[in-house]
Subunit: 323 residues, 2 copies
DNA sequence: CGAGTTATTCTCACAATGAGTATAAGTACG
DNA sequence: CGTACTTATACTCATTGTGAGAATAACTCG
C-alpha cells in the first residue's frame, strides 16, 4: 500500500521534493509567402521564439502564445504540440538544473508590415537546403552530402555498423530503388548530425576552423526542433485540412497547390490535385476571378470552414507526383 | 538586442528564475492477452504508473522506464511519447506549484507470473465500455449514454450551442449517416466529461451521492491520458507495424487479427486482413502449425524484423469492415 | 490575329479495397 | 468410419482510388 501515500502526496502538492526543473516553451511558427515556406525567428543567431513556462500562464498553449506575441508581435492562429525534450547533451548546458523543452508547431500568415531587427521570417530551406526537391534533386545533396554520407557510412569500423549506416542513409535519402520520402526530415537531419555534417554537431569540440557545412545553423537544438516541425507538417497536410491555415481568405487552386508544394518540397500533378480538392468538398467558389498576370483567369475559392465540424478528423489527401 | 541576453541566460543555466515546476512521467502500458487489451495499473484506485522526472534520469524515456519497472517490475519494450499536459484544473491540485505531466505509450506482452497487490493488468474496456464494438454497438452506449448525451446537447441555453453540441456528438459517436470511427476515443471521452457523464467530471463538486456512471474511473486525469493512448494506438496500427510488439514470437494469422480487432474495438474481414498482411511481407512462416482446439491447424508466423530497417516508416494498413 | 500562358475538363490504365464464395484440413461424436 | 462442425486458406468480382497524360477554354502580349 505504499501506493496510498503516493496518491496523498500527489494530491497535496509535492512540496517535499525539490525537483527544480524548469520548462521552456519553444515555437516553430510557419507561414508560406509567395510559394516559400518560412519560419519565424528571433535574433541574429537564428533562434526560435521561446520562453519559460510561468506560474501566470493558464496553460502551456497560452504560455506559448504569450511568448511568441511578446517576442515577435505576430498573432498566432492554429497551434499544436510537437514534442517534449529533456536531453542533457543537446541543450548545451553545463549546469545541474534540468531543462524541459516543450515545443509547438504554429501556422499563420505573414502579414507583418516591415521586418524588425529582433525577429523576422526566414525561408526554411535556408536551414535545410537538401529538403527542397521541387526543381529536382538539390545539387548540394547530390554533390556534397551524399558522397560525404556514404564515406561516413563506410568509415565505420564494425562491418555491422557499416551495413546499418548504409541502410539508414539509403532509407532516409531514397537511394537504390527507393523513393524520396519528403516526410523523413528528422531522420535525415539526425543522420547528418551523426555524420557531423551539420555545424551544431561539432559545436562543443575544438575543431580549429570548422569547414563550411550546408544549411544555416541555429542555437542549441532549435534546428532539430524545426526539423521536427517540418516533418509533422509534411505528414499532416496529407490527412488534415491544415494547409488552409496558411492561405489568405480567397485563393486560386494553383496558389493552394503551390503552397502544398512548398511545404512538401516536391511537385504535384495539377489535374489530380484539383480533382482531390474538389471531390473532398474542401473549398467553395467565391464567385470572382483573379486579374493576375498572364493566362486564363482563375476562379477564386475559399475554405469551407464547415468541414472542420463535419469531420473533426476526416482526411485531406494530396497526390504527390513520383517524378 | 534584448535577445542576446536571453541567449546568454539560456546557455548558462537559468538559476535566476525560480520556476519551481515539477515534471511527472506517466505511462500508458498496453498488452493484449487472449484477445483483450489491457493496461498496466497500480493501486486500487486505478492509477497509471508514474513518478517525477529526477536529476538522476538520463532522459525522459529512461526516467519513465525506471519508474514503471520499479512500480510494476514489468519490463518495457517499445515506448513513444504521447502528450504533455499542464492544465491546472484537471490535476486536482490546489497548491501553487505547477505540475507538468509528460505521458508515454508503452507496448509489451503480459508475462507476469501472478498478479501483485500493488499493480496489475486491467481490461481497457473496463474504463471505456462504450469503445468495444466487436459484438455490435454496446448496450451501454445505445441505452444510456446516447440518450443522456442528446439530452445534454438539447439542454444548452443558446441555440448555437445546441447545434454545436449535437454536431460534435454526432461526429464523435457516428450518428446520422456517419460511420463509427474507432479513432475518436479522446473526443468521445471529452464529450462525456463535458456532459458530466463520467465520474471524474463531478469529482470536485458536492453532488451528494453521485449517480452510477458508466466505466471504471481513475485518479486525477489518468483516464484521459489512457484515452489519449488508446486513440494513438488505434491510429498507429494502421500505418506502422506496431501490433507485433504485442504478439508472442510465433502466432497464427487469426491471433494477429484478433489482437488488431481487440485494439480497434471492431471486426475485420478475414480474407482481406490475410491478404494485406501477406502482400506487405510483414511476416514469414515459422514452419510449424498449431495443434490448438478444433478446426484445421493454422500455420505459425513470425514478424520479419527486417521490415523495421527496410522501411523506417512505410505503412501497415488494416482493412476494417464497415458493418 | 497568332503565339504563349494558365485554367479547367476528360480519359484511361492500373492498383487498392471491400465483400463474398469455394475448397482444404482438421476435430468431435454418433 | 463417416457426417457435422470448425477453422484455414485460396480465389473471384465489382467498385473505387490514383497516377499520368491529352484535350479544350480563356486570357495577355505584341
Amino acid at each position: 500500500m505504499q501506493d496510498k501515500t503516493t496518491l496523498a502526496k500527489k494530491q497535496t502538492g509535492r512540496s517535499d521534493r525539490n525537483q527544480a526543473v524548469c520548462a521552456d516553451l519553444i515555437a516553430v511558427v510557419i507561414a508560406v509567402t509567395n510559394g516559400e515556406p518560412r519560419v519565424l525567428t528571433i535574433g541574429q543567431a537564428g533562434a526560435l521564439p521561446s520562453g519559460p513556462f510561468e506560474l501566470g500562464h493558464r496553460s502551456l498553449q497560452s504560455g506559448l502564445r504569450a511568448w511568441v506575441e511578446r517576442q515577435t508581435s505576430q498573432p498566432l492562429g492554429y497551434i499544436e504540440q510537437l514534442y517534449t525534450f529533456a536531453d542533457r547533451d543537446r541543450i548545451g548546458d553545463e549546469h545541474v538544473q534540468r531543462v524541459i523543452s516543450i515545443s509547438y508547431l504554429g501556422l499563420t500568415r505573414e502579414e507583418q508590415a516591415e521586418s524588425s531587427a529582433v525577429h523576422g521570417w526566414r525561408g526554411w530551406y535556408d536551414y535545410f537546403p537538401w529538403e527542397d526537391h521541387r526543381t529536382g534533386v538539390p545539387p548540394i545533396l547530390a554533390d556534397i552530402l551524399m558522397p560525404r554520407l556514404l564515406a561516413w557510412a563506410d568509415g565505420a569500423e564494425d562491418l555491422n555498423m557499416r551495413r546499418d549506416r548504409r541502410q539508414r542513409v539509403a532509407s532516409a535519402f531514397g537511394l537504390d530503388d527507393r523513393d524520396w520520402n519528403e516526410e523523413f526530415v528528422l531522420q535525415r537531419y539526425e543522420l547528418l548530425y551523426e555524420a557531423a555534417l551539420v555545424a551544431e554537431a561539432t559545436r562543443g569540440r575544438d575543431t580549429g576552423s570548422p569547414p563550411p557545412l550546408p544549411g544555416r545553423s541555429m542555437i542549441a537544438d532549435h534546428r532539430r526542433i524545426l526539423a521536427t516541425g517540418i516533418a509533422r507538417l509534411r505528414t499532416k497536410i496529407k490527412y488534415r485540412p491544415v494547409v488552409f491555415e496558411l492561405m489568405p481568405p480567397a485563393f486560386t487552386l494553383l496558389q493552394l497547390q503551390r503552397t502544398v508544394e512548398a511545404l512538401a518540397g516536391r511537385l504535384i500533378h495539377k489535374p489530380n490535385f484539383r480533382r482531390l480538392i474538389e471531390q473532398q468538398n474542401l473549398v467553395e467558389e467565391v464567385g470572382e476571378t483573379t486579374a493576375e498576370t498572364v493566362g486564363r483567369p482563375a476562379k477564386l475559392f475559399r475554405f469551407r470552414h464547415a468541414v472542420l465540424d463535419e469531420r473533426a478528423v476526416a482526411g485531406t489527401k494530396l497526390p504527390l507526383s513520383r517524378a
